[in-house]
């Protein structure tokens, strides 16, 4: 592989980083296993029930999200209308929308005092059992987020279908069904297993949605049960057993998922020729799209409306709110920058590695979080901090930043890795023959080409951290809290107007960061070359 530029420092740095992350994860696992060995006495947790419940909701979420995502992608791929890009952008934002905000929005629409129940009582004089709690509520919230996420990913597959294939199909006069079966389905089916595995893992490790909408022990999942065991029941033995179960199942799913085609992260615009379906099919496509857009946007609009019209001024007047906002922003920015450094080091090292074995090894840290999810990671850090005697308050900010960075790492590497690999694949020979230094290669070639991807990655990492509840839930104190934790505490003390205002502001911060950061970084990366 002499065609690759010789970059031993990049490979060495990435290898060192991989080892550091491996040692960190090993220390966390050791702390958990150590606690399991040391702990004496029994525990009341019913692992079999929790496992069954978690697997059931994750499995149902996966199937429903893939169905919804396929339908949305199909409709969006066919329809052209003003504002289409906005709708596509809305679905793309699903991945960063805080689960707490969606759960809160669902309650405000479907809850006992939600819009629909109130309208039903006014119009028909009857109320009904709220579907926003329990398994139905969890599924609804998950499908809103993961269905939109799946729709955006699958739309990219449909938009990438070669023009020649579409022209041939059009000239053959294929019906809408034939077009889907012969042209769309072959393009989609390769992505479904990998995408399904990601959605299964996201649902399996979901924390805030289950915490808010679970409605009691019957619908608890492993993550929430770990949190309950540590923070409410003080059942460390149970928490450790649950954590080990969680790690085992997640690792198994990752092992199975690694055999599937990776999910593409590049989301380009469609340049396909117009091929309109018949009028009845277009009506169906519009119906799918409108239902999907309403299903996704309505809870978010409801959050904004409730938040901005009820307790906003009261919340803005609280010193605690500004402290939590400051903490959220500092932790979000620190996590995003740490994620950028980690992802760049790993992706640059991986793209420079000659051997396939080294490339596989340098890809492993991306899976660290998926195998050891937020609450489990927090529990491990929590036990580790206790073992080392460091005051929890002192360690908390550092732990939260590290844990949030590991949480974003898979998405960061999936964003930066493919473009870096593509640069080396297409221009590696030229770069090597020109004898460019590693620094010139990065500053002149890789950084300007990565500008938007770096912005997208920073936005993802910042938003993940901003909306995180899983990590902060174990480490948060009265003096150290972020916006999601403050919102959760407001809900717990029945200050629903405060919670609504915080949810609305959290959503606004997320949208601003997700839309603004990629554009800002792209502009900076271009300006720096002038």
């Amino acid at each position: 592989m002499l065609t690759l530029p010789h970059r031993p420092m990049r490979v060495a740095a990435a290898t060192a980083l991989t080892l550091i992350i491996a040692v960190l994860i090993a220390a966390v696992l050791w702390a958990i296993l150590n606690a399991a060995t040391d702990a004496s006495g029994g525990s009341r947790v019913d692992i079999a029930h929790l496992l069954r419940m978690t697997a059931l909701q994750a499995g149902l979420t996966m199937v429903l999200s893939l169905l919804v995502g396929t339908a949305l992608a199909w409709a969006l791929n066919r329809l052209r209308f003003a504002g289409r890009d906005l709708v596509v952008g809305l679905f793309a934002a699903a991945i960063v929308t805080p689960g707490m905000v969606v759960a809160f929005g669902l309650l405000s629409i479907w809850g006992r005092n939600g819009w629909i129940n109130q309208a039903s009582e006014v119009l028909f004089g009857i109320g009904f059992e709220s579907p926003a709690y329990g398994l139905s509520g969890i599924l609804l919230a998950h499908v809103i987020l993961d269905g939109a996420f799946a729709g955006r990913i699958l739309l990219a597959r449909l938009d990438a279908i070669p023009q020649s294939r579409l022209k041939m199909g059009q000239s053959l006069g294929l019906s809408a069904w034939q077009r889907f079966a012969l042209i769309d389905w072959p393009a989609l089916r390769g992505s479904l297993p990998g995408l399904g595995a990601i959605i299964f893992l996201l649902a399996f490790t979901s924390f805030p949605i289950v915490l808010l909408l679970g409605g009691g022990p019957a619908n608890q999942t492993l993550e929430v049960a770990i949190y309950t065991a540590v923070r409410l029941d003080f059942d460390l033995v149970g928490a450790v057993r649950l954590a080990l179960t969680q790690i085992g199942v997640c690792s198994l799913v990752i092992l199975l998922a690694s055999a599937f085609t990776p999910v593409p992260s590049a989301l380009s615009r469609s340049t396909q020729p117009r091929w309109r379906d018949s009028a009845p099919v277009r009506v169906l496509q519009w119906a799918v799209l409108v239902l999907g857009a309403i299903g996704f946007a309505l809870p978010l609009l409801s959050v904004l409306y409730d938040g901005l019209t009820s307790g906003l001024l009261r919340v803005l007047g609280q010193a605690g709110f500004w402290r939590a906002t400051g903490t959220s922003i500092i932790i979000g920015a620190s996590s995003a920058l740490l994620t950028l450094a980690l992802a760049l080091m790993l992706a640059l090292g991986r793209s420079a590695a000659y051997r396939q074995g080294a490339r596989v090894m340098l890809g492993i840290p991306a899976f660290a979080y998926l195998a050891v999810p937020a609450v489990v990671l927090s529990l491990g850090f929590f036990l580790l901090v206790r073992t080392t005697g460091v005051p929890v308050g002192t360690a908390a900010p550092v732990v939260v930043v590290i844990a949030n960075s590991l949480l974003s790492l898979p998405f960061a590497i999936a964003t930066l890795g493919p473009p870096l690999d593509a640069i080396i694949r297409t221009r590696g020979k030229l770069i090597r023959s020109l004898g460019l230094s590693g620094w010139t290669q990065f500053i002149s070639i890789e950084y300007p080409l990565l500008g938007r991807d770096i912005g997208l990655m920073l936005a993802l990492a910042f938003c993940f951290s901003l909306g995180d509840l899983g990590v902060i839930a174990l480490f948060g104190t009265q003096d150290f809290q972020t916006l999601p934790l403050m919102m959760y505490r407001a809900l717990g003390s029945y200050k629903s107007n405060d919670a609504a205002a915080i949810a609305a502001l959290l959503l606004i911060f997320t949208i601003v960061a997700f839309v603004g950061l990629p554009r800002l970084i792209e502009r900076i990366s271009h300006a720096s070359r002038r």
Partner: protein, 212 residues
């Protein structure tokens, strides 16, 4: 003189290895032709150092080249396409050929001279993506001038150009080769390119170079 002496190489699964021997004189274009898949690009990869032969010798004026990695070889490359980085300007692309540590004012002056020599004076700030195929090849030639390496390897460099641009770019390559005394090795399957440029012509037949 650039001299390859029985460079032996086989791709994985290839039963009969290539055996390449050639001589290329300074200030001349040496052409290589052959059928598709005959090994023309493999020969250029061997000369540039992207692949290593099993045995044989490669020297320039008696100095061994095989021990040198691609970036240290006295070689510049010009391919059919993808010679430039599209997000950089003509000036920035050409400047990648400057020796490391060249002071900025000197570098700007040298780049402007090189672009003028290939007929692109005034194109400095134009982005590579907005240049025509012929202009892109000229920018790559300007970069080659700045790299100042005595061997120029050309892999079908005129294939993507229209007839008129092809003729003028070809003439420029010939003129620069003579002016800078380059050992230019041209891989092409176009007889008119070879006839117009080459002083020596080899054809690859059954994995070996035959002088035409």
């Amino acid at each position: 003189m650039l001299r390859a002496d029985d460079l032996v190489f086989a791709h994985p699964g290839q039963e009969e290895p290539y055996h390449f021997s050639l001589e290329a004189q300074p200030g001349e274009v040496t052409a290589i032709s052959g059928a598709s898949g005959s090994g023309k690009s493999t020969l250029l990869d061997l000369l540039a150092g992207f692949i290593a032969p099993v045995s044989g010798m490669l020297t320039l004026d008696g100095e061994d080249l095989l021990s040198l990695p691609p970036e240290a070889r006295p070689v510049s490359l010009l391919l059919q396409a993808d010679n430039l980085f599209e997000h950089l300007s003509a000036e920035e692309n050409a400047a990648l050929g400057l020796p490391r540590g060249t002071p900025k004012p000197t570098g700007q002056q040298l780049v402007a001279q090189a672009l003028a020599e290939v007929g692109l004076a005034g194109f400095d700030t134009k982005q590579a993506a907005n240049l025509s195929g012929g202009q892109k090849q000229r920018v790559a030639l300007a970069r080659t001038l700045l790299r100042d390496r005595p061997v120029l390897l050309l892999d079908e460099p005129f294939s993507a150009l229209d007839d008129e641009t092809r003729r003028t770019t070809r003439e420029l390559v010939g003129a620069l080769t003579r002016r800078h005394n380059w050992h230019t090795v041209l891989v092409s399957h176009h007889a008119d390119d070879i006839a117009a440029l080459a002083s020596a012509h080899y054809r690859i037949v059954a994995g070996r170079l035959e002088r035409v």
